[in-house]
């Protein structure tokens, strides 16, 4: 199993992501944003958290136009798996691989704490290790995590079972408490909470580890 973690100037969760992926058996390559190709045979591309390009213009906007994004889109189009966390989620919405956008938190403050989530949907590579409706807790750390999409798009996401995670106590104003969403083919997940920061006993919370563990299990069995 091969994973690639994209790295931009300002990424700061890239190495945590690598550690979490390696812990479940992925062979991980770090891919610089100026590269225009992914390693051959990449199963999963992880777009990590951080402040790519200093959040200039809009969070994720410049990263979404970096040279590596052509290869990322081609990977997604041929059915490859993509996981975007925090700034990675912002990048995926800016590329158009996921619908909607992440606005400034409704309370205007940067929020860094562990929040409660419910797993709305467990039919995907990423969420299959959880029970549907299960309550978990993961850390968030963002200033712009207020998920927005028009009502028709939100209805469609809900109707197609593509809301992966919801906040149990909405911290940032996200529409319909959305914390993470899946693409139409369910192979791209974008989420604001950080599973890689809750994936080791030393973190004091291993709710995120099951996301990574299930990816390995599903890919091995496939």
């Amino acid at each position: 199993m091969k994973a690639a973690v994209t790295v931009y100037p300002g990424s700061n969760c890239d190495r945590d992501m690598k550690v979490a992926l390696e812990a479940v058996g992925f062979d991980v390559t770090m891919v610089w944003h100026k590269d225009d190709a992914l390693p051959a045979g990449t199963d999963l591309v992880a777009v990590p958290g951080g402040f790519s390009f200093g959040d200039y213009l809009r969070c994720g906007a410049i990263a979404a136009n970096a040279p590596i994004v052509g290869a990322l889109k081609a990977h997604a189009e041929r059915g490859g798996f993509v996981l975007g966390v925090c700034n990675g989620f912002q990048v995926l919405t800016e590329t158009g691989l996921l619908p909607g956008a992440l606005l400034r938190n409704a309370g205007l403050k940067y929020i860094c704490r562990t929040v409660g989530l419910s797993v709305s949907e467990n039919q995907s590579l990423f969420t299959g290790g959880y029970e549907a409706g299960e309550q978990i807790a993961l850390p968030i750390a963002h200033h712009d995590g207020n998920y927005f999409a028009d009502d028709a798009s939100l209805d469609r996401l809900e109707g197609e079972g593509r809301v992966a995670f919801r906040y149990t106590d909405n911290p940032n104003g996200s529409a319909r408490d959305i914390a993470g969403i899946l693409s139409e083919n369910r192979r791209v997940l974008g989420m604001m909470p950080h599973p890689e920061r809750a994936s080791d006993s030393a973190h004091g919370n291993e709710d995120g580890a099951r996301l990574f563990a299930h990816m390995t299990k599903a890919l091995t069995e496939a």
Binding site: R58, G100, A101, L103, N105, A106, N146, F148, G173
Partner: protein
């Protein structure tokens, strides 16, 4: 040539920063400020002959996120 691009959040998209500015104006004693919307202005220094269509493409591809923002181009 120069052009100016005005980027604003679309109507119906909550603008918490604009709301905070509105509250601040109220607490400074300015009455009757019913709403504040905050956007951004981007000035472009362009090669002569750049068409408005090309500037529009810049807006669509990078300068604005048309999911949440609208833009207006002003050629100076």
């Amino acid at each position: 040539m120069k052009a100016r691009v005005h980027v604003m959040l679309k109507q119906g998209v909550l603008d918490p920063q604009g709301e905070a500015v509105r509250h601040a104006l109220g607490s400074l004693g300015f009455e009757g400020v019913n709403g504040v919307r905050q956007g951004k202005v981007i000035e472009l220094d362009l090669a002569d002959g750049t068409s408005e269509a090309q500037i529009g493409e810049m807006c669509e591809k990078l300068l604005a996120n048309t999911v949440i923002e609208s833009y207006r181009i002003e050629v100076l």
